[in-house]
Symmetry: C2
Subunit: 345 residues, 2 copies
């Protein structure tokens, strides 16, 4: 059985999800919807991916640019079982009535409000409960990073509360009109930032406060996380749990010399297309334990961390895998995710 999937929106996330679908053996990519016939559309064409325009107006632009398209969004919707909405934040909700009219199952991204879908989703937290849903919202990159950590540790320790400071990248590498270029923006000033609420859309019972700033960089987010447990924990036990977990890679800065997002991305440039790092990176030697408190730094690659969760969400909607372990095994093998630092395995 092969589930037919379309991707609406072919930007940072859509492009990567489309490529990831192509790497699966239990789903097929029927096509992608792209608004403008630009260099990114040329990449899709070169890949042999069927391109659809959002509407007939946009379709003419593709004709003029000499890029062949297979129809418009509604044509795509009539052919697929699942649509992955990867349009800009807030736009996905405006498409929902159309998706419903065509009776397709829907996956939205974290830029949408939680109400857009039946449930918010993160594989390590709630895969099994999400099987057979009609729509899911894959939470954003920062929330995915926090949830991978929290849900992994919750399996072994009793988490009392989580306090996290998010130092966010200002723009993605391809975004040429965003800033700041010389400022630290409190985003927002008032605590908590929306990330805490977003974590609670998936795990409502976690006491979490997040604070976020935006800084002039494009590569990755960095989180400083403090987890307070109900009882004292041993540093070695925390490290063992994280080391054994899927989608989390421990990096030791003393062994590798990696102490920054720039060096981390540089290491990925050698081995990964687009220097993607879909794994959550936890700095092993940043892990400090003081009684019940565990403190650490982690880095989140905003462009790619949600890609595995999107693939898992397709499996959940279509009932393609019965357990989180099963979809994780399939997704992570097909996408080449690492369990150990890519240059030290």
């Amino acid at each position: 059985m092969s589930v037919k999937v379309g991707v609406n929106g072919y930007g940072t996330i859509g492009r990567r999800v489309a490529d990831a679908i192509l790497a699966q053996d239990d789903m097929s990519l029927t096509g992608v919807v792209k608004r403008s016939p630009d260099y990114i559309a040329l990449y899709a064409a070169k890949q042999g991916i069927n391109i659809y325009a959002p509407d007939s107006g946009s379709a003419e632009k593709f004709d003029r640019a000499g890029i062949k398209i297979s129809g418009v969004l509604e044509d795509l919707l009539s052919k697929v079982d699942v649509i992955v909405d990867a349009t800009p934040g807030g736009v996905g909700a405006t498409y929902k009535p159309l998706y419903e009219r065509y009776g397709v199952k829907q996956i939205y991204q974290g830029g949408e409000k939680p109400e857009v879908a039946e449930a918010s989703f993160s594989t390590l937290c709630n895969y099994e409960e999400s099987i057979g849903r009609k729509s899911l919202r894959v939470v954003s990159c920062n929330t995915t990073g926090l949830l991978r950590l929290i849900c992994t540790l919750r399996r072994h320790f009793k988490v009392e509360k989580v306090r996290a400071v998010l130092i966010r990248r200002a723009a993605d590498p391809r975004e040429i009109k965003k800033g700041p270029i010389n400022s630290i923006n409190l985003n927002p000033v008032q605590l908590p930032s929306h990330h805490a609420r977003d974590v609670n859309t998936v795990v409502p019972d976690v006491n979490i406060v997040t604070a976020a700033v935006v800084v002039p960089t494009t590569l990755m987010h960095v989180h400083q996380v403090t987890l307070v447990f109900k009882e004292p924990v041993r540093r070695d036990d925390v490290i063992a749990v994280l080391d054994d977990a899927p989608r989390i890679v421990l990096i030791n800065s003393k062994r590798t010399g990696i102490k920054s997002t720039a060096q981390l991305i540089e290491s990925a440039r050698d081995v990964r297309r687009r220097n993607d790092i879909p794994e959550l990176v936890v700095f092993e030697d940043s892990i400090g334990v003081e009684g019940n408190e565990v403190m650490l730094f982690q880095a989140v690659h905003q462009e790619s961390i949600v890609v595995p969760e999107n693939i898992d969400a397709i499996r959940a909607l279509a009932g393609l895998a019965r357990t989180a372990d099963e979809t994780i095994r399939k997704t992570d093998t097909s996408l080449g995710l690492y369990r150990r630092f890519w240059l030290e395995r």
Copy 2:
């Protein structure tokens, strides 16, 4: 009685401390030591400040540049009661034997190791105990910011522990060779950063852990601070204490529209030479209280925050003021420090 003061090093801090000394009525600026006859030396000359070269080799460079000097460092040391060392971090300690030989009292900056001086110093924490010392070390900008907050709140509440994440500016505006320009550097990866230890050089009994990252900006540092008190506190009480405290200015982002270091500095450009902000800025609407926990954002202007404390340190060494309140009143009036946001008083 007027205490004669020299300043060794005329960079970011030395220039500001020299100007601040000129604004006092109980001390006089005998001269400053400058290494190169550059645009910053021209500013000193234009101010009518006596310039000294570090040694006869450097003196010749000033001759060739046509900038008049009054002698070399040792000439200055033979004339002053107190020397403020504002040389680059770690260099101050190498001058200590020379300072001692001339029997002058010494003030060092936070870039030196604590052992360089008899005690580390922060006015709101330990002015009275510092009176009559032979040498003091004014802690760094980040530590000064943390200590102003902690020592202000300690007077009214029982602080159990402090957890702070420091998002540090990468370079000062005039530094043209430092980075990063596109990275978040964990600085250091291992917790705690040195700031926690530095806070403990002044207040040894505070349980504090700090984590620090460096980001591509030049304007200010931002701290996200969590203080845990021994008993629940009311948000209004915390705000009242901070509002009433010297050297701390509360800014409400909703009223002022200031949500970033760029906007904060822009507001200071209108009213302050060099856009200096020697006050610690606490974002009022960032203050969140949850039981015993108080969380907030604060901003630290790395170039100027330690200037008032340097002036107070001179008074402590020379016994010019009996209490912290007395020196704060003199320093803050002469330097035009605000108790409320400068555009809202």
